[in-house]
Symmetry: C2
Subunit: 430 residues, 2 copies
């Protein structure tokens, strides 16, 4: 609980007023920005890119306050690293802004046209969703990346960042507002929650008349809190328990690099492998080689009895671990009976994020792709490719393991919806 | 509160067990039914149509229990009428089942294909959502209509109907399970909550690991309760506060029939007009004629000062009424300043359901279609056309005023999602 939450009722009421105002202003701005030319949006994104360079000194100063507070709080080196607005971090934001500015805008696209027997002509037209709330944890780059994608799709955005990056986020949001104004757009299309009070999040999540979508980005507990409290639709993924299944029909020259890449190339991300499934029909020597290669890469393996026979270095596993997102160089290794066994395992323990099969059998690949209940099925490719950039979307607001609206990596088009337009000549219903 | 809720903790635990079992069975069945041939589904729907005819006597008997209980509870004639499984009601269910069986299944459609520079080929494939929960009020036809659409799109469905139709719904659900078995499909793809205990609904709404989507159908208070309690994504509309704007550029030969049809053809439904917006630039005599025509049809008008000058029979309105869904022959009538005034009014008071403009000006129609934040924009047509059947979808599971996933009338395709399938040749991420 923050200070505000424990202070007098008057302060709480005033926070409610602040949140009310932010939601109402965002809604109003969303109705203005949705009809602005695509070129103005791109101009604002490029202005923001310039600001990141021209205002670097001030950003560093504000970021310094967060880093100093973080050090005092004893944040780990890795966390301080994520928090820092280094030259590299700023350059990456600039690149991202330019890339998003360069994307085609899907707003206004017409589709699903039809003419009815009574002469009505009907189509759908792609429109922005409206107001999007982003609730995220420490990394300040989300302030820029997420806002850019929301604005590109002509939505208003409300940002609520983590307390560790508060000063950095404030400064970034202010630059973004200035960039919107420079491009002749309503600055209120970007709203930043100017408090780290947790009560503000709960208030925000009840503003379903003004906010159309909430996207939480962060750890599983943050996301569960948002789902629990929200009256507004939420798109999310809790975690990525991604599987790679190596079939008896796999080509080892593909299987080993895929397994190593999926686990070890960047183990801390949601599309890294957490469980390796080995086909019991795979030659024993081959399975031993796969285990040895992983161990050689520094991966700690946790296996069922059959898998533990592959190496003395494999530790025993308990069933709970099969739901784990390790996010480091640990891996569950399980022996399953063929593709059917792999499908059953993934549909039981998986998180519906990304799951891969390595096989030379077309039938097996087709069965796996059909039956595994997951957002992204990889056939003979690393799970690490589940990413908006890799899918050719040019950017990514997040990955959805939900089944509604969008599944898997989400880009600009995923932040749009449609409107039905029905054109008649005086028709009435009989 | 029902009896169960006030009984011993043991009974509550057992209800929790029942709901757990229903959710788990539905999830398992969803994984089976998603890969069944479309022909088997259609066979089950047609078998259900036969059952409604062959088992009419038993259905009548069960329905009689509900009607008797309803009379004792003092339900209105209109409510008893909705509850009755009359010949007409049954025939309409049979027609609906045959129509849904005749629709093309979108499951398995491939779209958004792309090839990446690294050789990965990527596409999306249309798949069922999984498990859909339908929470509805008294009318037993929802049991059949909603289940048919959910199953057509190869989802498992959990039905929770209103207590007034409990016996009728039980009997209908049982026939549907039998029809699934006859077609060689898992009967557990249709689950019926076998209790009227309200606690069951709250338990169901927390089963987000098993249930993918909840669609509430009924009054606004039911829907608000579902949104408040649910951890599962909900698609819904609270109400339909539909507007018709008659512009100074309207053709009166279209405007009057559209206004009368939108209000009076069937005033109790969500796509009926609740507010008529008259352009202050419209000739005063013409506005008087419009008001007189509505009054002549038996409509009670509630107007602002400017509108009340059109007829002595127009009652005063207070602002709260502008959010009203009257659902009967009452209507708000408001004078606005041109198309801009109409847009501002609708975006403030509307429910984002369906809003119409009557105008001969292409520019005005385009501005209205672009700026009004609503699921369906009607140009020179009655709001009453906002309907799955009228849009050519062959059926309708409901109408969404949400912006996510589906907007406006929802048919079979709206109960599907997609899966990304990425095919490689051993690619790993660098």
């Amino acid at each position: 609980m923050s200070e505000t939450a424990s202070s007098a009722p008057a302060a709480i009421e005033s926070l409610e007023g602040v949140i009310d105002g932010i939601a109402a202003n965002a809604r109003r701005a969303s109705l203005l920005i949705q009809n602005q030319p695509a070129a103005s949006i791109d101009k604002a994104l490029l202005a923001m890119a310039s600001c990141l360079e021209s205002d670097k000194a001030r950003l560093r100063e504000e970021n310094g306050k967060d880093l100093e507070a973080g050090r005092r709080k004893g944040l780990s080196g890795a966390m301080l690293d994520r928090l820092a607005l280094s030259d590299k971090a700023l350059a990456s934001m600039v690149t991202g802004l330019k890339e998003v500015a360069g994307l085609r805008s899907p707003v206004g696209d017409v589709f699903d046209e039809r003419v009815r027997p009574n002469g009505l002509t009907i189509h759908k037209v792609r429109v922005p969703i409206g107001v999007i709330g982003i609730i995220y944890e420490s990394r300040p780059n989300v302030t820029v990346d997420a806002a850019a994608i929301c604005l590109k799709s002509r939505n208003a955005v409300i940002l609520r960042g983590g307390s560790e990056a508060f000063h950095s986020n404030c400064a970034l949001a202010e630059l973004f507002s200035r960039s919107l104004l420079e491009a002749g757009l309503p600055a209120q299309a970007l709203q930043f929650i100017p408090t780290t009070d947790r009560a503000a999040v709960e208030m925000l999540l009840r503003k379903d008349a003004e906010i159309d979508l909430v996207i939480p980005r962060g750890g599983e507990s943050l996301i569960r809190m948002v789902v629990e409290k929200s009256r507004i639709p939420v798109i999310k993924h809790y975690k990525g328990v991604c599987h790679v299944f190596i079939s008896r029909n796999a080509d080892l020259k593909k299987a080993i690099p895929i397994a190593l890449n999926a686990k070890a190339q960047r183990p801390g991300v949601c599309n890294a492998m957490e469980t390796l499934l080995l086909d019991s029909g795979l030659d024993l020597q081959v399975r031993k080689i796969i285990a040895a290669e992983l161990i050689d890469k520094g991966v700690t393996l946790f296996g069922d009895d059959e898998s533990r026979a592959l190496s003395g270095a494999i530790e025993p596993i308990n069933e709970e671990n099969l739901y784990n997102e390790y996010l480091d160089l640990r891996l569950s290794i399980i022996t399953v009976n063929g593709v059917e066994g792999a499908i059953a395992h993934i549909n039981k323990y998986g998180s519906r994020h990304t799951d891969a099969i390595v096989t030379e059998s077309e039938d097996e690949a087709a069965l796996f792709a059909e039956r595994v209940d997951t957002a992204s099925v990889m056939i003979n490719a690393s799970t690490r490719f589940a990413d908006g950039g890799e899918y050719g979307m040019g950017c990514e607001i997040g990955i959805s393991t939900d089944k509604l609206h969008s599944r898997g990596p989400m880009g600009v088009e995923d932040l749009t919806t449609y409107k039905w337009v029905v054109r008649g000549n005086g028709q009435v219903r009989g």
